[in-house]
């Protein structure tokens, strides 16, 4: 720490950070554009200028960019004295800016507006013609309006340098500088949506939001959690007139930081979809006609039925909803709504987290890792935010090189120049090429079984007390040594695996590697990806019980249960279709609570309209066993209620508390929110901003009487604009706003240090505490080679594999229907021509693509896409050319993005 003086004020600041970051942290308002806490400084916009004085006598000083300045002990600076320069800098930036704020979607949350006002440039002197540009079509997610560009270069630094995109860049120079793609077309990065938040003006905006646009201040917002995958990124969704309008990032330093993936940001349109269940329906038997059930009727029918029913929980429902169902049917009658294998893998991961000497890795820890091995998990498609974090981890070598040269690591351009293409090691074992291969030191194509063997061998090479593996080839042995050495020599090694390969052996292998790396107090980091938002929570909730969907099915098949209540779960995604058919047919009563229509719901005789995440509150437990609370964003109409509300008449906080106290390791769930009596100035915290417009007029076309404000009996937030909005206090962080800072850049006002943790809000609570230092090992299991000509492995798609987000129009534009992927030689052997289909056992016929990375004798089958049920397939299958066949309408080969992009031969 050093002492500096800024405009006469003495501040104590960290000399390892730049001056801009430090003065912002001290609460000063210093304008900036190009600097970003996650991307460092390049000094290109000249907006953060300050005067730096050489010594106490110096009265003139000289202009310096604060973002490019290391604060020095005794340094004397002035923000005020450089004010005129900053106003001029912004005036020149604004010369070509169209001033179209009234029709610009950034208006009202625009960093450029804020900085212009702050710098005092209020009158335009330029009278010449402005430069104009042609905009590009960039796909369904992002809108392009180049005229608004102020050439700060943040977009390129984010999209290319930070997120690893290659289909975007700066073009031309001076007045003609242009930011876009070489040719128009959809942006390929899975993280393109962050452009809308990174660009300080309205060049890149959220396109689906644009189609149902309202100003930021007219949105009702609440702190929420993304349900797209098991990472649990923090979000602020916004609603107006009963429809969910958009999702923006909510900063959490340990989880998502400043960035979301495109599934999370653009995948919530299903909340407004026509497929929503908006009223409960009932029918006497499964072949009778359903009729409408009033909420009271639905409620009483459900509770009568539940008396002797089994309950089937869900990895996509909150802890509270699952717990309430478990309570309702009795814990012995509660079954996890996942297959026996899926449940076992979840519990296997919990066991590893609890008992192995490992450190469970948050996204922040992943970013800080300096050697990584990824075993069989295609994180870009199953837990995208982790992939973005891994892209940062490979930069740690460069940061270290910089530190060794006494170059601060925020000095972005210099660090990149120094590093060139040197990277910290990232090893990937996978049955196919992945999107992370471009930053990997080594990519080894192998099946889950082979990868598990290699994993076990790596553990053994690091620590010889780990079980050894026999019969490795010479090539495999040298690979094992390379990886073992790199991991052993790293300061912060990381192992990434997960349930994506459906392979318990692979999970064991990962656990062994992480265990082997433990050395005294030094523990390796381990991240195990699970399939859904609350998969690990469901595994916890089972509290050691192995009652899975398979067991529920055999119970019903044996006639030991006649009624079932299914919570937010489409069983047809969990088990072979014929097994689910016999299950639902054998039941006398089937109640399904869900937000959207599913095949399981079609078979039910009581369908109950449940709220989505946006209309519910509760807790999700992410892949790290981190519990996070989400608040409902808006109150749905009365016929729709959050699942917990149907299942229990207790208050949410009571259910949370009961779950916390009765389930092992869930204690931390009880402390996620401020107590119910929390208030600011005697009032609940408003979900609506104090600028929220039209409150008395917005329903006047229906009724001129203003209805009573909706009540939220559960939480500390109100569905109202009354109360004191949080402007610096992040206790409930429902929107980022602070006086003078209308854009999301205002986040720093809520942080204890710019870019660091929020002042008050919790980053969630990691439930599993692990102090283990004892190494235990799993033995390698003998694998049985799958029967059939082709070994099947799963393929995942960020756009399409997840059930709910796949029902969003923008996501559908980026998705494809089912297909299979195979090696070119195999396709030839099968006599396949480009437009042929392939007959897939138990699944009908599908188109195919050729991926050169795939090994002969293996076939990739996508999970969760329309037109294929992965659960129908055995491990090994036969393939043959489909006899008569036409490609389905939703087959879009071009949407399959992989690093060895599918050859056009497969295109129908």
């Amino acid at each position: 720490m050093v002492k500096i003086t800024v405009d006469g004020k003495v501040l104590e600041v960290d000399e390892n950070n730049n001056l801009l970051e430090e003065v912002l942290s001290q609460g000063e308002d210093l304008p900036y554009f190009c600097w970003h806490p996650s991307m460092g400084s390049v000094g290109s916009c000249r907006q953060c200028a300050v005067i730096e004085y050489a010594n106490d006598e110096d009265e003139r000083g000289r202009l310096n960019m604060a973002c490019m300045t290391s604060p020095r002990e005794g340094g004397r600076y002035s923000i005020e004295k450089a004010g005129q320069f900053r106003a001029q800098a912004i005036e020149s930036i604004m010369i070509n800016h169209p001033h179209d704020c009234p029709v610009c979607e950034e208006g009202g949350e625009c960093h450029l507006q804020d900085m212009t006002v702050m710098s005092g440039h209020t009158y335009r002197r330029y009278e010449g013609k402005k430069k104009t540009h042609t905009n590009q079509y960039l796909g369904p997610f992002i809108n392009h309006e180049m005229n608004r560009c102020i050439t700060c270069y943040r977009c390129v630094r984010y999209y290319n340098d930070y997120a690893g995109g290659t289909d975007f860049g700066p073009q031309a120079s001076h007045d003609n500088t242009y930011f876009g793609r070489w040719q128009e077309g959809p942006l390929e990065s899975e993280f393109s949506g962050n452009l809308a938040e990174v660009c300080p003006t309205g060049v890149f905006t959220d396109k689906p939001f644009g189609k149902q646009y309202v100003r930021k201040w007219d949105l009702q917002t609440a702190p929420s959690i993304c349900t797209g995958c098991s990472v649990g990124c923090n979000t602020n969704p916004g609603e107006r007139y009963g429809t969910l309008r958009r999702v923006v990032n909510r900063f959490n330093d340990e989880v998502n930081g400043y960035f979301l993936c495109d599934r999370g940001r653009f995948g919530t349109g299903y909340v407004n979809s026509d497929e929503r269940i908006t009223v409960s329906m009932t029918r006497a038997s499964s072949d009778a006609d359903p009729h409408l059930a009033s909420p009271d009727e639905a409620m009483s029918q459900l509770h009568v039925m539940a008396v002797d029913a089994i309950g089937i929980g869900s990895p996509r429902a909150s802890m509270e909803a699952n717990f309430a169902l478990r309570d309702l049917v009795g814990k012995d009658n509660f079954y996890a709504g996942v297959s026996a294998n899926d449940l076992a893998m979840g519990q296997q991961i919990l066991d590893i987290y609890r008992n192995r000497p490992v450190n469970v890795a948050s996204i922040k820890v992943i970013e800080g890792s300096d050697a990584v091995i990824v075993l069989g998990e295609d994180v870009t498609n199953t837990a995208a935010r982790i992939a973005l974090a891994l892209r940062q981890s490979v930069k740690n070598l460069g940061k270290k090189m910089a530190r060794d040269m006494k170059l601060p690591d925020w000095h972005d351009a210099a660090v990149r120049q120094l590093t060139m293409d040197r990277k910290s090691p990232l090893f990937i074992l996978s049955p196919h090429a992945t999107r992370l291969d471009d930053v990997a030191a080594n990519v080894h194509i192998s099946s889950a079984e082979e990868s598990a063997r290699i994993g076990f061998a790596i553990a053994n090479a690091i620590d010889s007390s780990a079980p050894a593996v026999k019969g490795l080839s010479k090539e495999e042995k040298s690979l094992v040594d390379t990886m073992a050495d790199a991991l052993k020599n790293a300061q912060q090694p990381l192992v990434v695996c997960g349930t994506g390969s459906f392979s318990p052996a692979l999970i064991d292998a990962a656990a062994n590697i992480a265990t082997a790396l433990q050395d005294g107090d030094k523990k390796a980091n381990l991240a195990m990806v699970v399939p859904e938002a609350n998969s690990l929570g469901l595994a916890l909730l089972m509290n050691g019980s192995d009652q899975s969907l398979d067991q529920a099915m055999s119970l019903v098949a044996d006639g030991d249960a006649k009624s079932a209540v299914v919570l937010e779960n489409d069983l047809y995604r969990r088990a072979p279709a014929d097994a689910v058919d016999s299950f639902v047919n054998a039941l006398d009563n089937l109640a399904v609570l869900d937000s959207t229509q599913t095949r399981t719901g079609e078979a039910a005789n009581l369908v109950i309209a449940a709220g989505t995440f946006a209309e519910s509150s509760g807790t999700f437990i992410n892949y790290e066993a981190r519990a996070q609370h989400f608040y409902s964003v808006f109150k749905p109409k009365d016929s729709i209620r959050a699942s917990v509300k149907w299942l229990s008449d207790q208050k949410l906080s009571e259910i949370t508390a009961a779950c916390a106290s009765s389930i092992t390791d869930c204690g931390g769930m009880a402390n996620l929110t401020p107590g119910e009596d929390f208030n600011v100035a005697g009032m609940k915290v408003p979900r609506q901003q104090h600028r929220y417009s039209g409150r008395t007029a917005m329903r006047a076309d229906i009724n001129v009487h203003e209805p009573k404000q909706e009540q939220d009996e559960d939480g500390i937030l109100s569905y109202s604009m009354e109360g004191v909005p949080a402007t610096r206090d992040a206790t409930v962080f429902n929107t980022a706003w602070s006086g003078g800072w209308n854009s999301n850049q205002s986040v720093f006002k809520f942080q204890s240090h710019t870019g660091g943790a929020l002042k008050q809000a919790s980053h969630g609570q990691c439930l599993i505490e692990n102090n283990s230092k004892t190494k235990t090992w799993n033995e390698i299991e003998k694998d049985n080679a799958p029967e059939g000509d082709f070994a099947v492995f799963p393929l995942y798609h960020l756009f399409g594999s997840e059930e709910l987000t796949a029902r969003t129009p923008a996501i559908q534009e980026k998705a494809t229907s089912a297909y299979i992927a195979l090696n070119g030689d195999d396709a030839q052997k099968l006599g396949l021509q480009a437009s042929d289909g392939v007959a897939l056992e138990h699944n009908g016929s599908v188109p195919f693509i050729i991926r050169s990375s795939i090994k002969p004798g293996t076939v990739g089958v996508p999970v969760g896409l329309e037109g294929v049920n992965f659960r129908n397939l055995p491990d090994g299958i036969a393939l043959e050319k489909a006899s008569s066949w036409t490609a389905p309408e939703k087959w879009h080969a071009a949407n399959i993005i992989a690093s060895d992009r599918a050859s056009s031969e497969g295109e129908a």
Binding site: D167, G169, Q171, Y178, R181, W182, Q183, E188
Partner: protein, 177 residues
Amino acid sequence: MNNIIASTVVKARELTAEEIKEIEHEKTHYPYTQAVGLEALKIVQKYQGWVSDESLLAVAKYLEIAPDELEGVATFFNMIFRRPVGKHVILLCDSVACWMLGCDSLQGHITKNLGIEYGETTKDDMFTLLPVPCLGACDKSPVMMIGRETYTHLTAEKIDQAIAHYRDGTPVDQDLE
């Protein structure tokens, strides 16, 4: 690289043997293929006269860099032509010294005689007129360049002579130099 194959609109052309040979030679000078981008574009332009989308894609593919990155280089330098140009490119300086000595009226002269404004090419594809900022010969302004030839102390007559020279080989009157 992903987007090379992704591009459905533009198909890369085949690079010629000469182009490949020269690009290969340049590659020996640099540790990273990115660094060869500009030289490769110059080579292509030397043979093709300009850099078409098909050429740009071909070079990107050959060097295994993203076309977006190469486009950034190609558009940054104003002597890489991303649109077809005439056989001879007239580069007329419009920077301060030349402007003070009347480059505007010289441009008017060219435009009148050849029927092309800045950025345009004559119908017979013989000449393209482009402005350049300072050719570094301010002491002899106004200045223009055609090909490798620099014409200083420009006058309307000199321009006419130069144009005639490129049209039909009429020698330029040395006295006017």
